[in-house]
Symmetry: C3
């Protein structure tokens, strides 16, 4: 099934998103005392894992990243950079987190639109948008043998799902792609940034957990 040829702007934005996701993965690897290969794999799975999950689920195989060497080069570069300069990058983590919020906004929109392009209905397409945004970090945490950070109160997935729904709604209304993308990504990124700034947390279950 053909997807529309992505614009240069979109490819660049996509690569920047993959780059910052990959840096967050590589930093987790360094903190877990992994070797250079572990750093590269966590960089790669964090940067590309969400898109891989989405593409495998919707049957868009091989994933786009396997057909375009730039998508493989970017996480390798991010991983090596982190491997050599992780003390400096670790100190810039606040900045990484801000860029990460932009990557999340972008991925939830592109993932949702790709889901629609492959014939999914609105709710599954929005879900695929969320998976694109959060899947890489989940695979990273599984490979680092820890419970995914996004399950522990961080407000991350809900903004991604909201942005994906805005993108799906805009596409259904036949709004121009740029408007859809800016609205969906804008909502997601803004919500995520305010959540970081105000320390908003996702609600936790209340009452004693029975054993």
């Amino acid at each position: 099934m053909p997807t529309p040829e992505p614009s240069v702007t979109l490819v660049v934005a996509d690569l920047v998103g993959i780059f910052v996701f990959a840096i967050s993965g590589a930093l987790v690897a360094v903190r877990k005392d992994l070797d250079v290969f572990g750093v590269l794999v966590l960089a790669g799975t964090t940067g590309l894992g969400g898109g891989f999950l989405r593409d495998v689920l919707i049957g868009a195989t091989p994933p786009a990243a396997l057909a375009d060497w730039r998508y493989l080069l970017v996480p390798v570069a991010a991983g090596l950079l982190t491997f050599y300069f992780h003390p400096a990058l670790g100190r810039m983590e606040r900045t990484v987190t801000v860029f990460d919020a932009f990557g999340l906004g972008l991925f939830c929109v592109t993932g949702a639109l790709k889901g629609l392009a492959y014939g999914l209905g609105p709710v599954p397409a929005a879900l695929m948008g969320m998976v694109t945004g959060i899947g890489g970090g989940m695979v990273r945490d599984v490979l680092a043998s820890r419970v995914p950070a996004i399950f522990r109160g961080e407000l991350y997935a809900i903004p991604a799902l909201a942005g994906a729904f805005v993108a799906v709604g805009g596409a259904r209304l036949d709004l121009p792609v740029l408007v859809v993308a800016v609205a969906g990504a804008g909502l997601c990124t803004t919500w995520r940034l305010v959540a970081i700034w105000r320390h908003w947390q996702a609600p936790m279950p209340t009452g004693p957990a029975s054993v």
Copy 2:
């Protein structure tokens, strides 16, 4: 490749199975102190993960659950119910386990029949039946960062495999689908219930493990 249109009975039974699987996933999330999103994701992956694994492996993408909003709504409902009423649900866990045994029986049969419908031989089709039954719980445990419960002595996968083989054998003999389903699911569910009741355990390796 077309699969036969499922009957209303089968869809309802399928949704009930997903519902009880999702509750078991959500209860694990509550006990691991995850937030509302973690509860929903563990509900969703436990309820739908087995079918997703099967569909991705046999190439039946996108999985049926992504083409039918009811399949997405049910785990969300189970997750929210557990999020708000987990103390009560936790006390009913015995009941949940019994329903879970019915879900397992159903999933091992539908998974095996779908494997056959996609051209697999009898052994791989039975394996896909087992994967459909146990896959969701395995993904749940990986995301909760613990060794899958079904590897630790619980008699769960063997009944699922047995039920799947009965379903495959019945389908090969061209028996009516209802007979095949009742025989396969009946064997699996009965075996599982007796195993719970009599505390049967899967055998463990004996002798000292060399290090």
Copy 3:
């Protein structure tokens, strides 16, 4: 998309590789105190997981192992053997490691060639070769709830990637398949064996990890 009919030699070599991989998976399961089913699943995922991951990513579903009962029988045999004779097998682990190096060499070549056969470019095809070699062990470690061993200094993935690149290069030069296979697998296996013998380690990040 058709892949060329594999020769008898290749099938036998493939089955031997799966067998030794499966034994390494089963030994991990025994050491983690898993039951017989856990032993069989870790044997199966370690032996077949890399190929499954590759086939799902390149869209070659259902994976070859699901279409050929010998590929399912071999890990079951390896798992049962380990279940009953693990003290003896554990003492032979040095031998298992040597055979494992041969399996790795073989898998990185067959994986890379299959990637090319499915239309991937040289870099993604080499990556698929590496995934075929290392994927099973990664899935094994995730299911055993531990950080993959290949991230912790063991020199394992780099030789696999190198062998895969040799195979891709040879195939691009239209060298005979046997020459390509011997060169790629030879480089990978030799490198791996020397790394075991000389205790070579993959480089670790230096400097304090910021928290």
